[in-house]
């Protein structure tokens, strides 16, 4: 260990434990395939998530073709339409967003940002990825079984999810539930790693209140996921039993198509509680990493410390905690006891306060900054627009009585796409443009990036902003065709066609992004170790891309918080966290 640098404050304890021996790969196979290096695992997670995400993208094209031009495409009927929306939703929420933020960004960034050599349980970390891949393969397999994938909607509400009026009742629903169970097992292995690594493997001097917000966001989301996913696991297992063994956890006495079934005594609404006890935290499991990452993007590219760091940390933690007591706002019209509405509307609107604080602090970080309009910054700005928009429409749906006319309409579809689809994905793009140079050593192509940004941001806004008004009009969601509806004017059908065309264009722009990812690998401008002049530890590695063990011979020692940008009197406009220099800007240690 290096000695204590002069001027370091007392927050740096001596090393208490000796370094653990890392697993060193012996062959190509253990280095790149069955790798135990979190960076490789992070890339594996990311590429797999992007690949399955492309399937979800194509599915969204197909469903938009049907909605925009009903009856034009003979290969889309009601069965396939419901299969498309179901698989699109589940893939995007679980297999893309959750996997990419936690498995992808989490694996790559946590050890680097906290100054560790790797995750604390590398072998379990490797298993986590392979089980995730298996879950994805099981999910994909459901496209090829008799009856096809399930068309129960991504919420998989019983009884219809396992009855014959729903496509995929034969095999699709079984594979879906199995795949979810596998995903949760795999995630738990990874999640334990992320949480324990943050708690136990931080570099000397990296106090919790010096951690970059990216790590705070991913860490909190991971803890939430470890608590929330078991509810889904239980629900999935019980529904599997209902489907395969004839149990009646969620199945009351019912008559299907004139036929008495042998179910009885179960509660369909119990599944909804289990599902949303997972499902609402899930929204924040996706959102909190995005909050964290976007904070770091804004701070770095505005050359200004994140405004109100401690408030930002507490907001993340409070949002995480509150998100466990709001779940039934998804169930205002589910038929649960109506008095629940008072409680859940109140908790739901309270959560708006810490969320709003985060928005203010992002914008106040821009204020009096020195804003570089790089690609990551552009995506961060677009995130704020879409997140504010989607967050505010959440105040409609969270307010129980306002939700009554709007629930199950296109307003809901527009809301959640804006707030947990578009907004986090814009952060993912911003994050990839930001960290790509660290991962590959090269910058991504700027012209392709600009094209990708403008089409994606403006296109996504043009898709989802007007869609709210279709819901306000009363158009229900999950309708494979509107048919004749006396209250729907012809112009609404034109709007649907417009949205579909824009969706195709935005989808195409993602292909440009993928091409850029591949092209820049060889042709991108060489980046150097720290192209953005960022303060956080991952930019201070001795090698770029970082080598196995991340730090060469000696672990970094942290002297300051992650946001010493434009410190008055400093010789450059950023002071890396491991910079021992004058101890200005130790605001992060005050707590």
């Amino acid at each position: 260990m290096s000695g204590m640098a002069p001027g370091a404050d007392q927050a740096i304890p001596p090393a208490e434990t000796a370094e653990v021996e890392l697993y060193h790969p012996h062959s190509w196979l253990t280095k790149y395939v069955f790798s135990q290096d979190a960076k490789v695992i992070g890339i594996q997670y990311s590429l797999t998530a992007i690949a399955i995400g492309m399937v979800a993208l194509v599915l969204s094209w197909l469903m938009r073709l049907q909605l925009g031009f009903p009856g034009t495409f003979s290969f889309i009927d009601a069965n396939t339409y419901y299969q498309f929306i179901t698989m699109h939703g589940m893939i995007m929420v679980v297999y893309l967003l959750t996997a990419l933020f936690l498995g992808g960004f989490g694996n790559y960034l946590i050890p680097l940002m906290v100054g560790a050599r790797d995750m604390v349980f590398p072998y379990v970390n490797m298993l986590s990825y392979w089980i995730y891949l298996l879950a994805v393969l099981v999910l994909v397999a459901s496209f090829f079984v008799p009856g096809g994938p399930t068309g129960a909607g991504w919420t998989l509400y019983p009884p219809q999810a396992i009855l014959s009026g729903t496509p995929g009742q034969e095999w699709g629903i079984i594979l879906m539930l199995l795949s979810l169970a596998l995903f949760i097992i795999g995630f738990t292995m990874g999640g334990l790693n992320y949480a324990v690594t943050v708690l136990q493997a931080r570099a000397r001097g990296m106090t919790l209140m010096r951690m970059p917000l990216t790590v705070w966001g991913i860490f909190t989301a991971t803890v939430m996921a470890l608590l929330a996913f078991p509810a889904l696991f239980v629900g999935a297992v019980m529904m599997l039993f209902d489907r395969l063994l004839g149990t009646s956890f969620f199945m009351p006495t019912l008559v299907e198509m004139g036929q008495q079934l042998r179910y009885g005594g179960g509660s369909p609404i119990l599944f909804q509680h289990l599902f949303w006890f997972f499902g609402h935290p899930e929204v924040y499991i996706v959102a909190l990493p995005a909050f964290g990452i976007v904070s770091d993007l804004i701070s770095t590219h505005a050359r200004r410390n994140i405004f109100g760091y401690r408030m930002m940390v507490w907001a993340i933690v409070i949002i995480g905690a509150l998100s466990f007591v709001v779940w039934a706002h998804h169930m205002y019209v589910s038929g649960m006891h109506p008095y629940f509405g008072f409680f859940f509307a109140t908790t739901t609107l309270i959560i708006a306060i810490p969320t709003a604080i985060k928005v203010y602090n992002w914008v106040l970080t821009l204020w009096r900054g020195n804003i570089h309009l790089t690609l990551p910054m552009l995506f961060a700005l677009a995130f704020i627009v879409t997140f504010v928009n989607g967050g505010l429409t959440g105040l409609f749906l969270g307010n129980v009585v306002v939700d009554v006319p709007l629930s199950d309409t296109m307003f809901v579809v527009a809301h959640f796409h804006m707030v947990m689809g578009v907004a986090p994905i814009l952060v993912i793009f911003g994050g990839i443009y930001h960290w790509y140079p660290k991962i590959t050593g090269r910058m991504m192509n700027e012209a392709m990036g600009q094209f990708h940004f403008w089409v994606t941001f403006l296109g996504a806004y043009a898709i989802f902003f007007p869609m709210h008004y279709l819901g306000l009009l009363g158009i229900p969601r999950r309708y494979h065709e509107l048919g004749e509806m006396s209250f729907v004017p012809a112009s609404a059908h034109d709007l649907n066609a417009f949205i579909s065309i824009v969706a195709l264009v935005v989808g195409f722009a993602q292909l440009v992004f993928l091409f850029n990812l591949a092209w820049s690998l060889r042709h991108g401008r060489l980046a150097g170790g720290n192209p953005w002049n960022a303060t956080t530890l991952e930019w201070q590695t001795p090698e770029t891309p970082p080598g196995h063990g991340n730090w060469g011979k000696e672990l970094p020692v942290v002297y300051r918080w992650a946001y010493d940008y434009s410190v008055p009197g400093a010789e450059q406009d950023y002071l890396p966290q491991n910079h021992p220099g004058p101890a200005r800007g130790t605001a992060g240690t005050a707590a």
Binding site: A78, G151, G153, Q160, G165, T166, P252, T253, L254, V255, M257, G258, Q260, S267, P268, A302, R303, R304, N305, F307, V333, S334, P338, G341, A345, T346, L349, A352, I353, A356, I357, L366, W367, G369, N370, I371, L373, L381, L392, T393, L395, F396, N399, V401, V404, P405, S407, D408, Y461, P466, Y469, L473, P476, G483, M485, F487, P489, Y565, S566, A587
Partner: protein, 265 residues
């Protein structure tokens, strides 16, 4: 600098779209005008916040764009500002939540004089049951369902004998009379949804759910299913006819009771 301009255009364009859009809620046909008003309050508050934040952001991007001689301010925290923003947000939240909860308490409080009407959903159609002259609905159970007894009424319950069963036809209701709709499902979840009434509620097999409303204008309104119920979901349509009391009575007298429906007895 394009981004600052675009941000302004997004904010202004969204507001213009809101006011010029031809897509707005249907003319209301129930007593739930308060719901519409709460939505309007919410639109105003959230609209002002949205425009303020986006315009402020656009200003910052323009005013504090990178120049070689610029140095960003160093100000980790500003407690006063953060607290003021928190309090202002809390006030805004209360301004939306308070009327919302007030209206919700009305929504969940069924007036004593409301007539009970049963609506039954099954894949993929609607059936209805009205109390007969005794004003009471008889008990029912899906185990009783048969071709002759599509709603599963209890054949031994005297209260149910005079119930009016409307199967495969439109529901008729008298105008200006509060109705408590009792919702049942036979097979899977459904949701009785008439956009003009604003109210909706899921129907759950094995349970009876409800909501209440007062139709306020006559006419024929479309019933949609608002909870995914399988492959025929979007085809699960029906109609509600709201009539004057006299027209309604005339229609009602033409309907058959449960006792008349069952040929076996």
């Amino acid at each position: 600098m394009a981004i600052a301009l675009i941000l302004v255009l997004v904010a202004v364009g969204s507001v213009v779209f809101h006011f010029l859009s031809p897509w707005w809620w249907t003319p209301i046909a129930s007593n739930w005008r308060y719901i519409d008003e709460t939505i309007l309050i919410t639109f105003w508050i959230t609209g002002v916040v949205f425009v303020a934040i986006i315009l402020f952001m656009a200003y910052c991007v323009y005013r504090f764009r990178h120049r070689p001689d610029r140095q960003a301010a160093y100000e980790p925290e500003n407690k006063r500002l953060e607290w003021w923003l928190t309090i202002a947000t809390a006030v805004g939240v209360v301004a939306m939540l308070a009327p919302g909860l007030f209206v919700w308490s009305q929504f969940v409080t069924v007036p004593a004089e409301a007539t009970e009407v049963e609506i039954v959903g099954q894949q993929w159609r609607w059936s209805y049951r009205l109390p007969g002259p005794d004003g009471r609905l008889g008990t029912s159970d899906v185990r009783n369902i048969s071709p002759d007894n599509p709603l599963g009424l209890n054949p031994n319950d005297p209260d149910g004998q005079d119930d009016v069963v409307v199967d495969g036809e439109d529901l008729h209701l008298p105008v200006d009379r509060p109705v408590k709709v009792l919702l049942r499902a036979v097979d899977v979840l459904h949701d009785f949804y008439v956009p003009e009434f604003r109210a909706k509620m899921d129907m759950i097999p094995g349970s009876v759910t409800y909501f209440w409303f007062t139709p306020t204008r006559t006419g024929t309104f479309e019933v949609l299913c608002a909870e995914l119920c399988g492959v025929g979901h979007s085809a699960m349509r029906g109609r509600v006819v709201i009539q004057t009391q006299a027209e309604y009575q005339a229609w009602l007298s033409g309907q058959r009771s449960f006792a008349q429906l069952e040929p076996a007895r």
